[in-house]
């Protein structure tokens, strides 16, 4: 398949692995930001091909993982109301809140539906004028344009029974939180290609300068990631800290301007709580004043929820690249995808779930986690 086979080619992978080994003279620690990249790295064993000296840490870029428990609780609460059709992307359905998940709410009689596009939710609202239709607007900059378009269309068409439960988060403030933390070990960043396809990468340029950390906008296939690692290591070895674009087949420096304009028209930047990390200033999107009628939290009066997160789960440290999943004593024993203690285990793209699914300490030989990651951390 075009644009897939070329980027999953064993020969090319070996060539990049050799090239990386040739230019690496000292230990380096990189972070891939996006959960999709983490998933690809663990699924394809990309890190197994890297020299011992290179460590990949897994970043906070999994929207399912970082959506706060309060929002899940609100979603479950809204979806339990008899006059509501609650609509979500598939992978939010199984994330547990305090009192169960959306699949449980559905089993208990709630009208919970799964869609592939928020515009389908607008259509459902149009077809069910006597019911409140609520869409769970979750995600990073990648899903924001389509969610903004849903609100825009609802307003244009005068669809008043549509609203969104917003939990949008933004990548650059989270990266800055990680880079500015005392004890930060991240020396280079593989930025998420699809986020940059929307917003471009100019926002990373001042971060690269300020923290002297190279950024490489990177795609999601194994060869993309290997090339992204190569470009980052090359910068580090040369003492450079610039923003480079590995994912040029999808990403332009300025990004997708019409999408940005739409997002900016509908949403405004707000502080946002991240599950496992806490509140980060300027790190989320909320509806602008002109669109507050579409805010499900206001419509259903659900503004003052607060949930204390467990101190036993180290998913927050995993999300910030401070711990690897295997370092958690509960990993694979008390905490499994069937009994998740934290969001990084329940979401498919969470680092803990990816490790559990593709590697285990007791698996035969190479399918086990490589020794280097355990020793180095």
């Amino acid at each position: 398949m075009k644009y897939i086979n070329e980027y999953r080619d064993a020969k090319a992978a070996r060539q990049f692995a050799n090239a990386i080994a040739q230019i690496t003279t000292k230990p380096w620690t990189l972070m891939e930001v996006c959960g999709g990249q983490t998933h690809a790295i663990v699924k394809y064993g990309v890190d197994e091909l890297l020299p011992e000296d290179i460590t990949l840490l897994h970043g906070p870029g999994c929207p399912v993982c970082v959506t706060p428990v309060e929002l899940i609780d609100k979603a479950v609460e809204i979806s339990s109301r008899p006059d509501v059709v609650f609509i979500s992307f598939g992978d939010m359905m199984r994330v547990p809140g305090t009192n169960g998940d959306l699949l449980s709410a559905k089993a208990a009689g709630g009208d919970v539906r799964m869609v592939y596009s928020p515009l389908d939710a607008v259509k459902i609202a149009q077809e069910n004028p006597n019911r409140q239709v609520v869409f769970f607007a979750v995600g990073f900059e990648t899903t924001a344009p389509a969610n903004a378009m849903a609100v825009f269309q609802a307003k244009q068409r005068g669809i008043h029974n549509f609203s969104i439960l917003v939990s949008h988060v933004l990548v650059p403030p989270a990266i800055e939180t990680i880079l500015s933390a005392p004890g930060n070990r991240v020396q280079g960043i593989l930025a998420a290609g699809h986020v940059c396809a929307v917003v471009g990468y100019t926002e990373y340029e001042p971060l690269a300068q300020k923290y002297h950390v190279p950024f490489v906008v990177t795609g999601f296939e194994p060869i993309d990631i290997l090339q992204g690692v190569y470009m980052t290591i090359r910068q580090l070895e040369q003492g450079r800290a610039e923003v480079e674009n590995q994912y040029a087949r999808c990403v332009r420096r300025e990004g997708n301007l019409p999408a940005q304009k739409l997002v900016n028209d509908i949403f405004t930047i707000v502080p946002r709580k991240w599950r496992g990390i806490g509140e980060i200033a300027h790190s989320g999107l909320g509806l602008r004043e002109a669109y507050t009628e579409f805010d499900a939290e206001k419509r259903f009066g659900l503004t003052d929820y607060s949930v204390e997160e467990s101190s036993d789960c180290m998913s927050g440290l995993v999300l910030q690249g401070m711990k690897k999943p295997f370092e958690c004593p509960a990993f694979g024993t008390l905490c499994t995808p069937e009994h998740p203690l934290g969001a990084t285990m329940v979401s498919n793209e969470g680092a803990c779930a990816a490790y559990y699914r593709y590697r285990r300490p007791d698996a035969p030989e190479k399918a086990a986690l490589s020794k280097k990651a355990e020793v180095r951390l």
Partner: protein
Amino acid sequence: MNTIRLNDDLISGQDSEQGINFNVSCPIPISDYPNILLAHGSGGKLMHSLLDKMMLPAFSNPLLEAQHDGAVFPVGNARLAFTTDSYVVHPLFFPGGDIGTLAVNGTVNDLAMCGARPLFLSAGFILEEGLPMETLWQIIQSMQRTAHEAGVQIVTGDTKVVDKGKGDGIFINTAGVGVIEHNLTIAPASVRSGDVILINGDIGRHGMAIMAAREGLAFESEIISDCAPLAASVLALLDAQIDVHCLRDLTRGGLASALVEIATSARLGIHIVEHDIQVTEDVRGACEILGLDPMYVANEGRFIAFVPADQAAHAQSILGDDASVIGTVQSNASTFVTMESVIGTNRIVDMLSGEQLPRIC
């Protein structure tokens, strides 16, 4: 797709019941739901945990505990295979088949996986008030046609009608009886280290055909379900004196779940090679768009066969050009399924908890 088969694949998942005393942030463990979820019928760990905790202990007997696609038992001098399956697919008609073809082929295939020659089926219909008569007639005709093709007769049945809104048009249950005409024990317990694993074609077509039809997803070309009877292929292997150790059709949960079930049950490791597993361009494309792994997508005309290494080439030639060798049974004590990825690294292949859910981005 979300059928529950009581005698099918009754294998414990790797669910560990650990008595959690953590102050957990996720207080409802996924396997301890107070109500049935769709995921309990998806062929993953949740379903296995349900069967393991409720059905197996309640109905406990040696035939059930053999953990195979059907029960195999002697009657006089003959050995019979007996199986049942319920069909609740939506939409009722999809490219490559309908609920009627599934209801016949699914049960015929479960008998075939026991190494049996399928003979007779029962058919139980649960019809929803208001179902168009024309729809029912089309389904019955397609069952008749499929049964004829598979060489079985539908010899007994039942029809019930439920109130409007209490069914999804039509649910069908079929049970089947077949006769075993050889002395082999075809079951996970017969799998040996060194066995070669064959598959009879590409994977993922049925699940993606259903999903495309259900969700109105349009791709460049239509994905056609692989729904097909498998008895002829299996009987051809047996007629050629292939020493078949185990067979498994790849329905819910796909290839990955079937391999994990057999590895767990046989207490042997399995190693497969991703490059040797065929997936059509259409199915791969659809899976890529939705963030699904074809290894877990349902099939209705695919099976894996475990055979001795020295008979693998012969077996492959009998199964035809679409068949391929995808892996081997390992000698190590570990019961993991491992896979060499397309870029040459190794990883685990695990069973999913429930259904695969399309991802956000």
